[in-house]
Symmetry: C2
Subunit: 378 residues, 2 copies
């Protein structure tokens, strides 16, 4: 996977101060169309949190996308960009009641919940809204699983959806999240089966659901190869037909990483190369970006970015990659093998590929005095 012509052109211009993220908007639009092509019957709700840049939201709005917001500032940004409330969902399951009221006042009427207390808050602060309830999934196959902090078992979901009307809400659907960066398209099958069974159970109780929210999970291309978007489309639609038959509900997908991840490249600089013998002998390569400068997803070495250097192609040596701050914890990769060119030099500029998601807006305000990551959307 090569960098786009636009990004290559941008990086060939007189050097800008590193680190920075450059993001090619064309790639985002291209990926959006690819997803719509693979899943034509699905409404895409872009997960704004993945990269909330105005340019991205606007470009996706022009393509017809809807938007999933995780907070009031994200909703306000969408409103400011001219997106109507009926194209937004508030899919985060942990919300202040005052924030629910603000979203309701702005016209949003599609909300997620995954606890009794949250449902009660919704009933008070957003009466009459359509709600969907998030099931827990195993999160197998995901590099960034979402399996414990959110969601509940199908029995509890059944009970709460049956009671939603009494709270003054419209029980509208089921959601789940198979885990971010889900590299196995077959993971949707079990969750869809469970959702379909719940649709039928509730239908027998007189509660008719209309929506299945298939969550996020579409991957970016990190160190390991990932299946094509078409394969995800096939797997998801096969499972939908298998479990829902001819009673297909409205379908929502919430890609974030899958739309913007591959569209961005971070350029960083090698600040220091040092042979250390602390514990074991190793070559340490220190970059001017780290966990706290926009790469929080390297915590636990979960997300393994592809890294390219101007000296690729020759002899390599195993390297520990670390960030620039005083924090011992600010090490990017110590256990994941990262062979880097033997002749890598201090001052070299390297590229962190597929870094468009969960980076820019996740940098610290001024960790060690370091300013946040800059982003150029081109």
């Amino acid at each position: 996977m090569q960098m786009s012509e636009k990004i290559l052109q941008f990086l060939s211009e007189p050097a800008r101060e590193t680190p920075f993220l450059v993001l090619d908007l064309d790639l985002v639009v291209e990926r959006y169309r690819e997803v719509k092509n693979a899943l034509p019957d699905i409404d895409v709700y872009y997960a704004v949190k993945a990269n909330p840049a105005d340019e991205i939201v606007t470009a996706l709005a022009d393509e017809g996308s809807c938007f999933d917001v995780a907070s009031i500032p994200e909703m306000e940004a969408c409103v400011r960009l001219g997106i109507s409330a009926d194209r937004m969902s508030y899919g985060h399951t942990i919300k202040k009641e005052s924030d629910i009221a603000k979203a309701h006042a702005a016209g949003i009427d599609l909300f997620a919940f995954d606890s009794a207390a949250e449902m009660e808050k919704l009933g008070r602060a957003a009466p009459g809204s359509r709600v969907f309830c998030r099931l827990v999934t195993k999160g197998e196959g995901a590099d960034w699983p979402l399996s414990k902090k959110f969601g509940f078992q199908v029995e509890i979901a059944e009970d709460l959806l049956a009671r939603a009307k009494n709270c003054g809400l419209q029980p509208h659907g089921i959601s789940f999240h198979v885990g971010s960066q889900q590299t196995d398209p077959e993971q949707w099958d079990a969750a869809i089966a469970e959702a379909a069974a719940l649709f039928r159970t509730l239908d027998r109780k007189g509660v008719s659901l209309e929506l299945i929210n298939l969550g996020g999970g579409l991957p970016a291309r990190y160190l390991n190869d990932v299946p094509t978007t078409a394969r995800y489309g096939d797997a998801i639609m096969t499972a939908m037909h298998k479990h829902f038959g001819n009673q297909m509900p409205q379908m929502i997908l919430e890609p974030g990483r899958g739309l913007v991840g591959d569209a961005g490249v971070i350029q960083a600089e090698v600040v220091l190369i040092a042979e250390r013998h602390n514990g074991k002998a190793a070559r340490w390569v220190y970059l001017d970006i780290g966990k706290f400068g926009g790469l929080p997803e390297t915590i636990g070495e979960a997300i393994k970015y592809r890294i390219t250097t101007p000296r690729d192609g020759g002899e390599t040596v195993p390297s520990i990659l670390a960030g620039p701050t005083c924090e011992e914890l600010d090490v990017l990769y110590e256990h994941t093998p990262y062979p880097l060119p033997k002749d890598l030099q201090v001052g070299d500029r390297i590229e962190i590929q597929s870094a468009g998601a969960y980076t820019w807006s996740y940098a610290a305000v001024c960790f060690n005095g370091i300013p946040p990551l800059k982003q150029h959307v081109i």
Copy 2:
């Protein structure tokens, strides 16, 4: 350890939007004097990175403190506040050559290094400067060890300090860091012994060192009790006299957390309480602050903050504490027991005690759209 009168007064005023950090400047000054009292012969270099608020830097400057900066923005902030360059050290061992040149141009002439490449950079960009070399330590007894990413063995340090003159630098001293939040005052002894031996070895080679930088490590009061500042003073000075005899070098201490940690309190709100059965049955308590909103030191549950609630004193239940974001990783304490009041309610305001260090400036720019932590210095 109670909250100060000033903080209690501040928190009793009409409720401000949470989360926020309130920091009592008097407590910082008081702790500074306590450190100077326990270690009168030591020059204190406040580690600005712990909390770079202008008010803190100014108050400590008025007390006579010097400052350790980790980056050019930190240096520029000190310059802006009227602190002269001879009261600053650039103690971070991983610096861009262009940043070294900026610091040198501003008049800083005291720099750290812990690699051959860094020493060479210093020779080129800050010729004539005084340099000290960082030894690696075991970091035992520290809640936040600093034992791998930085520092080197005594043999390598000896070799490089002996060569520093050839790089156009003044070999000036030794530094080490026993680990942040070091709860065992005896941990300085072994490092001081090693440093003293190195002083003597180099002296025989005609390299006369003048400075020992004893690093940071003074703790704040988290969940567990910590020794008094006086005990740290005793342990450090006992070790200094034991190993340096009547050849005492200039001594520097770089407290950050130890000066500002206990001076700050974060007020946060309970957003949701949910019984979950995901894996094991547990009560989850979600706050409006988490790992990415200013509590990065809860990664790995390393720093265990004391948490107080308005309902303390009655029956408690074990609770998993989580942050407000969509990240599964944004869980504060899952393995550390946090019994919280059984009757804790959504909407309750809780206090995270001793949260003055490594919080405010470490919040993400807009994680999930959430604005960074606010700080009120009073």
